[in-house]
């Protein structure tokens, strides 16, 4: 069935609430309003105020109490309203959530999922368009995933909730309204795996979250010029699942990594290093990166200049043939 990405998340959360009564949803405006993006729409009405909790306006409080609930045996799914508002909770996530299992020598599990709508492209004011993934991927003990399409959204959120790891769950907010097929009965691929989403032979383009759509569009445009791009949806940012990337780059000899976040000390830095280490003798060109610039996210009227788009991806693809 075709659903929007937002609705697919809603259905995935609903199914998680149905299948385990220790699952609780908490966050600002997630109850009566159904969240500012309506991802939790109707859930409080059907599951009650004890399972879908409108919290006070304090992100550190949301994550800190979720950790307490998790210690008590619950499975909290926290919504952070926008990417730029996760930072008040940074200490609870990085110093507490990430390290609990390690510090307790494996005795204390904190299966908290932190949902964050991330990325730009919606014409918003500051703090509403950021890509904070590297901060979290840099932190041992956290798992970080990003969905890019409705089917993955539906399955990945359920997999994240049912696992015992704390998971930072990144949702590409500008894709919330895009539709795609959801197979409700098929069994999903493992959560922490990347996936080839379009096959090709000339260049490997690696992306995640909102940029997967951009990469696919670039591949379609390139095909018209007779160039064959393979697109890989990374899906998991920590741990990385780079087997499919290495396999692909060994065939194509060229690799371009795309994300909205700035390039400096980023996921693409990590990918470039690892692909170079593992595929050195197959590479026809250095690994190129198409990313946001190393600046704060700019005002809305100039965000199109900041965000990687089809042209910038194709430009990088072209450049891999120039070496």
């Amino acid at each position: 069935m075709a659903e929007t990405l937002g609705k697919a998340l809603n259905l995935g959360l609903r199914r998680a609430l149905e299948s385990d009564d220790r699952v609780v949803i908490m966050g600002e405006d997630v109850g009566k309003l159904g969240g500012v993006f309506r991802i939790t729409d109707g859930l409080q009405k059907d599951f009650g105020e004890q399972r879908v909790i409108d919290t006070p306006l304090a992100e550190s409080g949301i994550i800190g109490t979720a950790i307490g609930l998790a210690i008590r045996g619950y499975r909290p799914v926290c919504e952070i309203q926008f990417d730029g508002f996760v930072y008040p909770a940074y200490d609870q996530i990085v110093s507490q959530l990430a390290k609990m299992y390690y510090r307790s020598q494996g005795n204390v599990r904190v299966p908290v999922v932190v949902r964050i709508p991330f990325g730009g492209g919606i014409g918003a004011v500051e703090h509403h368009s950021e890509s904070p993934e590297a901060y979290f991927a840099h932190t041992a003990g956290l798992k970080v995933v990003a969905c890019s399409n409705p089917n993955d959204a539906y399955w990945m959120i359920q997999q994240a909730i049912s696992g015992d790891d704390p998971v930072i769950f990144l949702e590409p907010k500008r894709r919330y309204w895009e539709k795609g097929e959801v197979s409700f009965d098929a069994s999903p691929i493992p959560l922490f795996s990347s996936q080839v989403v379009r096959q090709g032979t000339d260049v490997t383009v690696v992306a995640y979250g909102p940029m997967v759509r951009t990469a696919l569009d670039a591949a379609t445009a390139a095909a018209e010029d007779g160039r064959s791009i393979e697109v890989i949806d990374l899906r998991t940012l920590s741990p990385l699942d780079l087997g499919p990337v290495y396999e692909s780059v060994r065939r194509t000899g060229r690799c371009v990594v795309v994300h909205e976040a700035p390039s400096h000390v980023s996921l693409s830095s990590e990918l470039a290093a690892r692909v170079t280490e593992q595929c050195f003798y197959s590479l026809e060109a250095p690994v190129l990166r198409v990313t946001g610039f190393d600046t704060p996210y700019p005002p809305a009227r100039v965000e199109e200049e900041y965000l990687p788009d089809l042209d910038r991806v194709l430009d990088a693809v072209d450049r891999t043939f120039g070496f």
Binding site: F293, P299, E305
Partner: protein
């Protein structure tokens, strides 16, 4: 984890002008305005409401990305704004358009942020109003630190000392930053007034999601006085805020003022309040309208007549048209402006990135 009891709906607060436009005596607070000053307050209220409505319309027409309306909160903002002295410093949220007006600031100034051409971009020191802060509560700590600086500079303790006012909402009172600012202000006896506009909602969440006690009572636990004022009464808000600011400038430390008011519109233009509150509740608050009560009072006291009211409406309408034209004329930032002002000392890496992007953009010129 139920929704808790409702906070008592009929609050005890300082009121000098009731919803019917009757003057009320208060043992501790009073105002003495000249007829001109009374008319000036009325004018402020009407103008900020009109400009606010114009901004909402501009958003509806796609000319602003978003707008946070102050509708219903005019008296709270004019009362506080007019109580400020030129040397005082204000730290606003994103809704304090009325405060900017009272500081004599061009109404175009905050509109760049909402149109998406800049992120505030003004000089805090020059205007004695810091930029808008969207991250809830963060500015209360900045206000407190600034106030500590005033003390360190020896600028408190006299009639012409300096004071700071920090604005925030009822929702913000839950944030760690706000509570920490209370601790700091108290411990360092900082000359700061914490001005909370309790408009009853934080987006969809009603007050009882943030507190089980009236907000102004929080202050005493931190060691400074808290007071609740009728935030729809411009006279009372002025009197209470002025007293709090004067106490601060005289070295008597912080005060929390809870301006009890109501957000008549949506949280922002992106919000749909019909999903979480009853129309009847909004209607009940319409009777407490801040402008209506001033108009009745001014008429009855013979301070203003219909000619005056018409004149004010005409002036407001004219200013709104002017503002609209200027918003439409706001230039979009250039593509390379992204790289400006990241570091005061610049950055070689960023210079390289900018040069690269410049070459990339140039490659499109002359046919690509």
């Amino acid at each position: 984890m139920t929704n808790g009891d409702r906070i008592p709906p009929d609050p005890e607060f300082v009121q000098l002008l009731d919803p019917d436009g009757e003057r009320v005596e208060h043992p501790d607070y009073s105002v003495e305005f000249t007829p001109d000053e009374y008319r000036g307050l009325y004018r402020d209220l009407v103008i900020i409401r009109k400009l606010d409505a114009e901004a909402t319309a501009l958003q509806r027409q796609g000319e602003l990305g978003i707008w946070a309306s102050l509708l219903g909160q005019e008296a709270a903002q004019v009362g506080a704004g007019r109580a400020l002295r030129p040397q005082d410093m204000a730290f606003p949220t994103y809704r304090e358009h009325g405060i900017l007006h009272c500081r004599g600031i061009d109404p175009i100034m905050p509109l760049g942020l909402f149109r998406g051409v800049d992120q505030g971009a003004w000089d805090s020191q020059k205007h004695k109003v810091h930029m808008y802060t969207i991250v809830i509560g963060a500015q209360t700590l900045h206000a407190t630190g600034y106030a500590m600086g005033i003390t360190m500079d020896g600028k408190v303790g006299t009639e012409d000392g300096e004071a700071v006012i920090a604005f925030f909402g009822d929702g913000a009172t839950a944030q760690g930053d706000v509570n920490e600012s209370f601790v700091w202000a108290s411990v360092f006896n900082a000359p700061v007034v914490f001005f909370c506009q309790n408009n009853q909602y934080a987006i969809s969440e009603p007050l009882e999601r943030q507190t089980r006690v009236p907000l102004f009572k929080r202050a005493s636990g931190f060691g400074f006085p808290g007071i609740r004022v009728d935030g729809n009464d411009v006279l009372a808000t002025y009197a209470v805020t002025k007293q709090a600011l004067d106490n601060a400038r005289l070295g008597q430390g912080p005060t929390m003022v809870e301006a009890y008011t109501y957000r008549m519109g949506a949280h922002t233009t992106s919000d749909d309040p019909t999903r979480y509150r009853a129309g009847s509740e909004v209607e009940a608050w319409r009777d407490k309208d801040p402008i209506k009560r001033m108009r009745i009072f001014l008429t009855k006291a013979g301070i203003a007549d219909d000619d005056f009211f018409t004149q004010v409406d005409d002036d407001a309408a004219k200013q709104a048209v002017e503002l609209r034209e200027r918003v439409l004329a706001l230039p979009d930032p250039g593509p390379l402006s992204i790289f400006d002002n990241v570091y005061p000392g610049g950055s070689p890496l960023l210079d390289e990135q900018r040069a690269q992007q410049e070459r990339y953009l140039a490659s499109f010129e002359g046919g690509h």
